[in-house]
């Protein structure tokens, strides 16, 4: 499932009026079809979030966001993200190091295992933790005796979110680390550097954009995760409600105002998505430019 998050390591797009191009009307038909699809399916929904959110004016919008339960949901989401993302970043670096820099048996299996959260339904993921830590779960009795709450509490939500988002950094870093090879690290070793020194001074700087890219995606998913979290959280307002769960709660309440509030809260996540996309595009533009520069440089050598 490598194609899911790591894509677009693109070279320069070469296009001109080639003799083998399609006739103009075909080109324009295809462009129109593609753009119409993007417009209706991707742009409109995004615009709609903001239009609906401000439907009852700016005052109501602000009021919706400042509601106590919503503020709590925002705080909880940030808390979960602050635990999950660093954990998964460390995991991603460790996994990428052993997978990209070494050959060993079972590597393909390990990569597939890392891909698992991409393929497994978030609901199933959430349920797996309920099976262990829920009231009737394997550890349920023991946890209850010791008065430890995992399910319907923050620890369970952290676990579920960590599960859903752990592949992102690893998946971004593996191809980047593979592409740089191991020669620079070997060179550092011959110059006397220890493993840590090699990692900090050589590996990390040359793959830092990959790390950032992975962290951005991981962060977006962690803040927006719904399915897995809703299974383990119990959605108790003011206690175990994250932003997406809050949106769900507001949407399903009967009042018209709550519906608008749902959009107001949702607009926060939409903004997050937009920021993610901007950073993502910037990083891609950067890697593309670096790549082009490097190619230009090697081109000059031949002269």
């Amino acid at each position: 499932m490598a194609g899911i998050v790591n894509h677009k390591r693109r070279g320069a797009t070469v296009k001109s009026q080639r003799g083998s191009d399609e006739p103009a009307w075909v080109r324009w038909l295809l462009i129109t079809l593609g753009l119409a699809f993007v417009g209706i399916f991707l742009v409109l929904p995004l615009v709609n979030v903001f239009v609906q959110a401000f439907q009852m004016g700016l005052g109501f919008y602000v009021k919706s966001l400042l509601e106590a339960d919503t503020v709590h949901a925002i705080k909880l989401t940030l808390l979960i993200t602050c635990i999950t993302v660093p954990l998964n970043t460390i995991f991603g670096m460790a996994a990428a190091w052993c997978i990209a820099k070494f050959d060993f048996k079972g590597k393909a299996f390990l990569i597939t295992l890392i891909d698992l959260p991409f393929a497994v339904s978030p609901v199933v993921a959430g349920l797996m933790f309920v099976v262990w830590f829920g009231r009737q779960g394997i550890f349920g009795g023991w946890l209850e005796e010791h008065d430890i709450k995992i399910i319907f509490a923050v620890p369970g939500m952290v676990l579920a979110t960590t599960f859903i988002t752990f592949p992102f950094v690893a998946r971004e870093l593996i191809p980047v680390m593979q592409a740089t090879g191991t020669e620079q690290e070997q060179a550092a070793l011959t110059l006397g550097a220890s493993g840590w020194q090699t990692f900090w001074h050589v590996t990390l700087p040359s793959s830092k954009w990959g790390v950032i890219y992975g962290v951005i995606l991981c962060n977006a998913r962690a803040m927006g995760e719904f399915g897995a979290v809703s299974v383990v959280s119990g959605s108790i307002a003011g206690s175990t409600e994250t932003i997406p769960l809050r949106v769900d709660k507001l949407f399903h309440s009967a009042s018209m105002a709550a519906g608008v509030s749902a959009f107001a809260v949702a607009s926060l996540l939409a903004v997050l998505a937009l920021i993610t996309l901007v950073i993502k595009s910037y990083l891609e533009w950067r890697t593309e430019r670096d790549h082009a520069l490097a190619q230009e440089a090697t081109g000059e050598v031949g002269n």
Binding site: M1, I4, H7, K8, R10, G11, T13, V14, S20, E22, V26, L30, L33, G34, F37, L42, L44, P45, A95, W97, C98, F102, F104, T112, I114, D115, F118, A119, V120, S121, V123, V124, A125, L127, M128, V131, W132, I138, L159, F163, F166, G181, T182, Q186, L217, A220, G224, G227, S230, V231, P244, L245, V247, A266, L269, A270, L272, A273, L277, S281
Partner: protein, 273 residues
Amino acid sequence: MFRKSNALPGFKRTLGFTLFYLGLLVILPAGGMIFRVVQLGWGGFWHNATSARALASYELSFGASFFAAAVNAVFGTILAWVLVRYHFPFKRLVDALVDVPFALPTAVAGLTLANMFSPNGWLGQFLEPWGIKAAYSRLGVVIALTFVSLPFMVRTIQPVLEQMERETEEAAATLGAGRLRTFFTVVLPTLMPTVMTGFALSFARALGEYGSVIFISSNMEYKTEITPLVIITYLEQYEYAAAMSIAVVMLFISLAMLAAINLLERWAGRFQS
């Protein structure tokens, strides 16, 4: 090819940590659930996994995911083609927008799609006179699933199209093949395995999707209830056995999809040296 060197340090430590992390987060939880289902015995599992309600949900989940992946196969390919081969204004922006479903939390996607396709929504109002009910119907499920799985299709095809040598098409042209013929005899056969990989990725993503669907679907038993929702419903009713049995079915389908995708990717890459 570069030589993998065993002189680099840290292999045991990082692999150890990776396995520990995966063990704690994946193997143990999945194992626990499978263990519990095994405890149920085959009869209990089969009874739960094939209840009428579960079967109805499989039909909807598989059918809608298949439709969504099929729509993406067509439009996603067109979109990828247009983005790679043609020049037009705001191309970069359009390219970035393809990732919207990837970046937008599913709950938000479901919320806004439900609103748009409701009978008085931006798009629903045009469908209403034709007697087409988009939101709160099976069509709504397909719409949501198409939305969430679109980037998987486009982003799978794009790099392959970019690396495709224009020269082979030009060679076909110099040999007298028309553009359409070139497309069907040269481009499509090369692209097909990739389209299938994209299809499988979209399908896998759609199958597990929960957040966006529950907003746009009416979530009615036997009619518009997807499998993940059935699991949650059973869980909320404390019917753990039923929830776990169906979840294990989903888990194994996910594993099968992963295996299929790996094979497809290998197959798609078989012409590359």
